[in-house]
Symmetry: C2
């Protein structure tokens, strides 16, 4: 068996030697370049855009402005299409926008022979604006009379939903309840993948061919078709290796514009390679969300009712929109799902800020920060320990979610908590640090999380797979699900080897997706891939193996039911002996003069299940109060994502998520100038990305409860690692200092203010 082994990544060698090909590596020598002019106001209309001077720059091929693009509003979110118009993403932007809605909006584009000509021309473009008032804060944006971003959305409310579970109004009337209220704020952050978004487009064979650094080639095909008003089959998207995405590339970013540029340049190859500055401002960000949490609990620590108000700042365009805030609601409901009364009121609100979209965790890092911070605040108010409070109120064996169809059958979370506790020696330290009072104090904290796997039943979950056998018995596997640096190809290879019955080395995953050739798949998001593609791989591999054994039965004259294929060897299970290496048979089959056969299999697997992924983080910190500095001494994430396909890759995945979460906790925030709406720190010097220099040893441990709905027993691990660290650190600071911080990032500035308010400084 290959699944469960820490085999080396299939792309390791190519990536460390520089052989791996990325979008720019594949760009032809004669490409034109496209550069975008971004607005320098946060809200208003482009009245005029003088291109005369710019057009005269030698090397400029064409200048396109917001007055030149088709009047086709289109959505950009990387969700599956829906045949139900009510279930589609909001189409609220044009390729270039006359109505400017944030500082950095796309208003014109220069196509030139080279970067220098394009940049010279950009500097000579003269937009004239009609400026309008702008609004950066979502609460303000909802007020009557606030500047309106999109006519179709009064009060800038993109969507407002809510729910009540249990007898909420009754429950809070119970006598003797302790009521704790808290407000928690999360910042705008950016994904900061290594490779900025880049794409190229050209006409070839009557199709618009787009090579793109995207997570979702098949979805981008559809969106480019929509944006350009052309049949979707006339668009071909090719996705080579990409240098990370983290959800930013789960939107169609500039593929539609680049494609339009190529059309406008007579079908010539055009490259649109965005800068880091543009990545920060004009791609996507993580939603900044404000949470107001209220908990009513009995003095023994048992919660009877909870309410939440979620206000999510969408930025200027809808992108993934309300899905993120809605997922916060689900996490809120599920993690503490002990038949409590819950109430939620959830808003997603347009603001004149950079657009928020998908980002690793998809709202769950935000709600988990709020909910798990609040849990400690409530526990403290009640005088029970954090773990005691959680033990009393968290998800319990017997829980079943009728919507997602999953159940909590064994106390998996307890097993995770036990591992975290043991690693940190938590109980001892909790006692030891109970009365810290010096300038430098220590504390321990923890947080739990809930996650799900894929998007069923909210959206389509479907994966297709094709396998092609070579004459030597090796095989290729193709999937629409994408390698984005996370190691998906390696997991797919392992699963294929096991499904077919060949060695890991005999399987070659075709990493590049080409929507003309690759079976339809939705791409890398929602921590879905190993779960969803695994089912397609299992089906397809089983189908292929059956074909091979049927041929073998006829070829070798052995009853099919006694044949099996293991590790590339056809075996006679009844006779208990090897029949022939697969490669021998496939060579004979391919070149047979009587029964020539090329072996391949292809199938679609529709997924109508979902799977729980759970875990926790434990952290130990040292807080230097005078310096307003937090040092993480020890930190551990424990995940139960079912069976590990590749333990080493799983560990690496957790390390990456924890790194992202530490930045989210302590340093990362996109700052806006309140006077202009301009992003102040659109670069990796001023934006404090967490790096290996800022980390202690990152410990990743696992509980492996096999997931029944997956043939390989696995559930989500892509996003969860980024979820629980920030509240665990926050709660450790609380234990150390007694100060309940209400926001991330917990920078020295924030700590200074909080410590001063608390009288510590």
């Amino acid at each position: 068996m290959s699944v469960g082994q820490s085999v080396r990544r299939v792309d390791a060698f190519d990536k460390v030697t520089g052989r791996a090909k990325y979008t720019d590596d594949l760009c032809g020598r004669d490409a034109l370049v496209a550069h975008i002019l971004h607005s320098t106001i946060a809200h208003g209309f482009v009245k005029k855009l003088d291109t005369a001077e710019a057009a005269a720059v030698p090397g400029v091929v064409k200048i396109l402005t917001c007055f030149d693009v088709p009047d086709i509003p289109f959505p950009t979110a990387g969700h599956p299409w829906s045949t139900d118009p009510g279930h589609r993403d909001v189409a609220d932007r044009h390729l270039l926008n006359r109505h400017v809605r944030y500082y950095g909006d796309d208003i014109a584009c220069v196509i030139a022979e080279n970067d220098i000509a394009a940049k010279r021309a950009l500097a000579l473009l003269r937009p004239e604006y009609e400026e309008l008032p702008f609004v950066l804060d979502p609460e303000e944006a909802m007020r009557d009379g606030a500047p309106l971003l999109h006519e179709a959305f009064p009060n800038n409310i993109l969507k407002h939903t809510g729910f009540t579970t249990g007898e909420f109004d009754e429950a809070i009337k119970e006598d003797g309840l302790v009521h704790v209220s808290g407000t928690y704020q999360t910042p705008i952050v950016q994904h900061c993948h290594i490779e900025n978004h880049i794409c190229t487009a050209r006409m070839e064979s009557g199709k618009l061919v787009v090579v793109s650094s995207t997570q979702i080639p098949h979805i981008v095909r559809r969106i480019v078709g929509q944006a350009l008003g052309m049949p979707w089959g006339n668009v071909r998207i090719i996705k080579p290796y990409i240098g990370g995405g983290f959800g930013n590339k789960q939107d169609a970013l500039y593929e539609p514009l680049c494609a339009f540029c190529s059309l406008q340049a007579g079908g010539r190859l055009v490259k649109l390679d965005v800068s880091r500055e543009e990545t920060f401002v004009s791609n996507r960000t993580r939603h900044s969300i404000r949470f107001t949490l209220d908990t009513w609990a009995r003095p023994d620590g048992r919660v009877v009712a909870r309410s939440i108000r979620i206000v999510s700042a969408q930025g200027a365009y809808a992108s993934h929109g309300h899905s993120i805030a809605a997922k916060c609601g689900t996490a809120f409901k599920t993690l503490y799902s002990d038949e409590k009364a819950n109430r939620a009121d959830i808003y997603t609100v347009y603001t004149n800020t950079p657009v928020a979209g998908a980002m690793r965790g998809y709202g769950v890092p935000q709600i988990t920060f709020a909910m798990e911070s609040h849990a400690d605040d409530v526990a403290k108010a009640l005088g029970v320990s954090p773990l005691e409070f959680r033990a009393l109120n968290r998800i319990r064996v017997g829980f079943h979610d009728a919507f997602y169809g999953y159940s909590y059958d064994t106390d998996r979370l307890q097993k995770c908590i036990d591992k975290g506790r043991a690693y940190l020696d938590y109980d001892r330290k909790l006692a030891e640090y109970a009365h810290e009072d010096g300038p430098v104090r220590r504390g321990v904290g923890m947080a739990m999380f809930w996650y799900n796997t894929g998007v069923w039943p909210i959206s389509l979950e479907s994966s297709s797979c094709r396998m092609v056998v070579n004459q030597d018995g090796s095989l290729q596997v193709q999937l629409g699900e994408t390698e984005i640096g996370q190691g998906a190809d390696t997991a797919f290879t392992q699963m294929t080897a096991d499904a077919v019955g060949v060695s890991f080395e005999a399987v070659h995953v075709i990493s590049t997706q080409d929507t003309d050739l690759t079976p339809f798949g939705l791409g890398a998001y929602a921590s879905r891939q190993t779960y969803v593609a695994g089912q397609a791989i299992h089906d397809c591999g089983t189908k292929l193996k059956r074909q091979l054994l049927t041929y073998a039965a006829a070829h070798y004259g052995i009853p099919e039911e006694s044949l099996d294929l293991k590790n590339g060897m056809i075996i006679d299970t009844c006779a208990g002996k090897d029949v022939a290496p697969l490669g021998e048979m496939t060579t004979e089959a391919l070149y047979s003069l009587t029964a020539s056969r090329h072996f391949s299999a292809e199938c679609t697997h529709q997924i109508t299940s979902n799977a729980l992924s759970l875990g926790c983080c434990f952290a130990e910190v040292t807080v230097d109060i005078p310096l307003c500095k937090v040092r993480i001494d020890r930190i551990i994430n424990v995940h139960d994502c079912g069976t590990l396909i590749n333990p080493q890759l799983a560990e690496a995945q957790v390390h990456g998520g924890m790194s992202m979460a530490i930045g989210y906790a302590l340093s990362e925030e996109l700052k806006l100038d309140p006077k202009t709406g301009r992003v102040l720190n659109d670069n990796l010097l001023d934006y404090k990305l967490s790096t290996t220099m800022d980390h202690p040893h990152l410990e990743a441990q696992f509980v492996e409860t096999p997931e029944k709905s997956s043939p390989y027993g696995n559930s989500a691990l892509g996003e969860p690692p980024a979820v629980p660290c920030a509240p665990a650190i926050r709660n450790a600071i609380l234990q150390a200092t007694g100060v309940a911080l209400d926001r991330t990032p917990m920078t020295p500035h924030v700590l200074f203010e909080a410590f001063r308010n608390a009288g510590l400084l």
Copy 2:
């Protein structure tokens, strides 16, 4: 129906605008280059090869000599592999050869950062040879004591076969027979495709990836694997558009060497782009063949026995070897297959000359020149007209070939002859030119030909096909059979449209073959593709259509048997109305939350049939005896290749073949220096390629007898156009001048000598 329509080529727009991508267009920016050192002796051994000076040239990365290559002899012919070792091509060359066997043999290779460095280094390589006597003529090569090229082949005989049909020895004893003997000689010519052979190689994802201008990607995969001693599945061949091949690229030319260079350069991208000079000398050529024909006929014109001696000059390495001379034997037997006694004695002989391989016609232009010239010589000796002689002796209705399995059911050839005759007003002119006697004389001539389709039952005939439907109802089709400029992609598109039931515009053929992704197919040769791939397309399209209609039946609740798909519309044949456009259903299917489905089909079709292709050429010439110059006044090829898939493309195919045949008749010959074996005219200035300047109007007409073994009714048209023009021209010269020429090309030099011998000068 799309088949039968002269739809525009699918690649027309890309090719005329320069958008179409060829191997060099796809080469990465940082490619190393490889250049080959060719021997300057015709026969001998490389004793030493001093690389010191060359290696010191800045930019040189590595120098590989014949002492550095693996000791693995490999074959190069583009034939299907056979699991029967006795049926495999001869493995008689190394990547670089220490035993030099022709002037131009490959003995070393420089890998460098750029062309200049490589060429400077080439000039500084110092080979030392042990020279051996060489032999250029195959008859001489067969003599005892001749220089031996390959130890395993005594007397340089690569292969000797023969056959006798009927009671030959008895037949020739009949009283009163007229015996006519003749010897006919054909020259070495080269294919002269526009794009020279070029390939690139690199290591990627653990595979050797070779991009090549080849006709046979799947076969080249196997040969590269063989030559390098690596599993065939570890090799990946990608074939983009190519600028012609004509059989030269039906060999693995430099793909194995280029792949080896990449391995030796640490897997870096290496480009090997051969010059026109190398194309002439060190690629492949058409076999020069000498025929001795003897005919025994009754005075009434009826032939009772024929014998042939075929001596084919192979050149230094086996390549396609004896297959070509053997095919001459089949043509000899079949075209005049009126139960005559036949005897054939066929030799293929190694010579110290450039290697002969496949070239359009595969021996049949040679034998047809000999046989059809001889037919006129016999007719003349007997005093019957050329057409009368042929009517008496040619293939007759009732003929059945038990080996190929085809029959001559109707007198198709007569229909072809009638068309040619009518176009030329042949009968009238034959009489009119019967007594030409001035210095400028006119004449008419004709020749018939036989051809077959594909290689069954000699070798494997198998084609696989995959079709993938997009959400908008358009679809892609993939085949291992290749577009090499002949328009195959367009024919495939038409056949796919009809098989599935969609419009021509809805079908997109994936022109590029990638052996990792493209279903196995053998490639472009043997005039097989439309015949062989057509069967796979028909199967696959039928399978796909069935899938679509099964889904439609469930989706729309209509019995499947009353549903059909026509021109992209699902129709209810019982109700007699449209149900829905296919694209509507496929969109709903793909995004269905209950029955998501990605539609695709893939299958292998093994071909166990062959098909006759027949026709003729009629030519009218004016011969200026003092100037020794022939002008073609009118020329027509008439083909019966069954149903025409695309009449306009068929006409273009015939035009191309006739142009090639005119060069073969009048001007083209690769000349060897008898003192050194060196090619004297290895360039397009000295080698007189026939061009449009040399042509009259080329008339192409067709007889369309539907071929029963093909679902689309078609048989071979790729090669036949190049076959009959040379003997038709030769026979017209014979009528005009009374001079029976015995060789091509019939250049002024040849005419001068012949006319002088005949007393005309």
